[in-house]
Symmetry: none
Subunit: 218 residues, 4 copies
DNA sequence: ACGCTCGGGACCCCCCGTTATT
DNA sequence: AATAACGGGGGGTCCCGAGCGT
């Protein structure tokens, strides 16, 4: 098992290196030589753990998805009100994009998935589904107005978050991403909430702060 | 001058071919050989008009920007109410993404700009600025509520549109992009308008239909 | 004829530029684009005057040969003693190598003649023949000993000069070429002259000084 | 270690092929494809052993230098009189130029070193130094006259040999190189030796014959 | 006559993603 | 899992000619 343990560690090192290189260069422009160098591994090791460049890219995406899903589950288990959960999930995802290279690389690969043979529909459907459930609960609870379609809202939240994060990347290298996420909810909430008092909106928006601690574990 | 005319035509053919290839494969995985083949041009011609692959990618992005800016100017000249202009701009951009290969390719390249050496901040700032002006006018007019920040709103609209379009690409190959744009405004408008009556909101959202004709010229 | 005059000037400009580029890069690594740029001429002009890269290289060699032959004739017409003529010819060739780009380029091309299809035997035979005649005269005159073969001596002088100049190029960028030519004769003369008194040798060697004027015309 | 052995063999095969191609075409006109073909190796192998064309050219030069230096050491160890050693070294170098492709290629590259980024001063200084030591010893011994400068003589011998060999290459494809080397010493010796009797000179010049065996090993 | 614009293909060097062999 | 080697294009660009001005 000691060997297996070492293999697992190597594998993760490679994924981390690959994520970094893919994030910088994109799939097509990334070179496995550079990945090997970054991960302090020979190409032989690389090909021992992954069948191909595609395979490696998929592994990065999957690892990224795993991390984000794990974050989501943690939040769900905290038993917050559903609308609050939606907001906190965006916050945590934003944080991962700021600090977790694997997530950064995975996200870039997600939008280059046609460069290799990979469908990223699954992860998106997953995330939309989670948001839709929360939205429906929030409507049932009365936090969100009854004339708001949970389906349309969930899709919008996911899309809007995606765009906010990407435009932040392009404009500021994601420096302002947390601020933009807060602005997003600041504008979205008055359009969907039942009680649009500045107080209630402000309390929810206030959940998005940069000085919160990152949840432990990956 | 006949020569110059031929050269211009060749250049445009190449840009069109390049846009198509870049859209399919992304920057790094695109091959100039394929571009040449697609554009029915030899590498010699390609080399005559563009110094490098980077140069070609930049030309595609710039051509895309040119088209979109032109669309925006046309809309501004139609003298619509500002909020309506914002919505119509999104609609027209969406249409371009559906039907104009150069715009599709340019947009993909925009998000891979770190693969080659190019800053795409400019175009984004431009677009945000236009939106901000319109938003400020709409606030002044009374269409948008006074407690909505034109700055934050414009950034959100641009980011949200970006995300909507990208997620639509990933999920449905952009088949549902016009619907998602309509949903976006359907949810945004009640949060920012002064008069949120279903009637007023509905009339604005109704501007986004697929059966409108595309404005002539590129 | 005015046009022809312009053409001739252009042609010579091109040869000068080509010589410079060939000297720096060698035949194979030289690019006609760079030649055109150096000569401030378009590729069209270049191809009007020369059929091919080979053709251009040959033109440079021939121009170089023409210059050197012209120098030789001038020296012969000065009516010096034959051994003195041999020495002065080496001196003048050395000067050309220091100051005349066409000669520098031509010489480099001479030793890369197998890279393009060109035989440089002719120029060498010419030069050896001239030297052989002078050597024979010097023997007849009694300046050179009778047991020295004019044939062998002439070949050696040409070869030795060639080597001296090339090694000087490699070692010092030809900075010390005149000194090395003087050393060459300093060592050669005592082995071939009839009267090897330091005085006579010194007088001949003294002909090689850098402060002489270059013969006018090219 | 078996692997390393194979790699070493491959590397040497490549160098040999490269030397042959460089000799025929010169650096700039040589193609790595042809090198690979000649050496019966794929481009991948070539890239594995050498980083670039420049790198390959340098390796050829260095291998050539190694061979020649080795020859020189062998001769020094034979304990001949110094002047004889100088002559025998020229003879052996001449033989290498006739029969050893790596040396032929290396020498051509030496004079095209500005085509790639390489300084060949080192090898020349080395050789001059060796010759200078021998010349000084010969002067001390009384074989060479005291008024001959070892420094100037060594430079001339190296330069003269270089020229003799290059002119022989240009004029006869090096067919007559051994004869020209003999002529060179035939003319040089009477100018530098103490005892210029035909007997002594003839015995030394007689060392240069083509029917001697080549020293074993490379 | 002289020259330039534009484009045609053919490689070239590089190096990449991959596979044997050990 | 490291060493060694495989081929196949990758982007680039070179040499050159067709066609049009002047």
């Amino acid at each position: 098992v000691a060997l297996q343990e070492r293999a697992r560690a190597t594998r993760e090192t490679i994924i981390a290196g690959a994520a970094a290189v893919f994030e910088e260069s994109g799939y097509g422009s990334a070179s496995l030589s550079l990945v090997a160098e970054r991960a302090q591994v020979t190409k032989g090791a690389l090909y021992f753990h992954f069948q191909s460049k595609e395979d490696l890219a998929k592994a990065v995406i999957e690892e990224q998805h795993r991390i984000v899903v794990q974050d989501g589950l943690t939040i769900l288990q905290e038993g917050r009100p559903p609308l609050e959960s939606m907001i906190v999930m965006c916050r945590e995802f934003g944080r991962r994009l700021l600090h977790e290279p694997v997530v950064r690389g995975g996200i870039r690969l997600t939008f280059e998935a046609t460069s290799f043979g990979y469908s990223v529909q699954g992860p998106y459907e997953d995330w939309i589904k989670v948001m839709e459930n929360l939205a429906a609960q929030a409507v049932a609870e009365g936090a969100i107005r009854k004339d708001v379609s949970p389906e349309a809202l969930s899709k919008l939240v996911v899309a809007c978050f995606t765009g906010v994060q990407m435009v932040s990347e392009v404009r500021t290298g994601r420096e302002d991403v947390m601020d933009r996420i807060r602005d997003m909810w600041q504008i979205l909430l008055p359009g969907i909430m039942h009680d649009t008092s500045a107080d209630r909106v402000g309390r929810l928006v206030g959940l998005i702060r940069m000085d919160h601690t990152v949840p432990a574990g990956t």
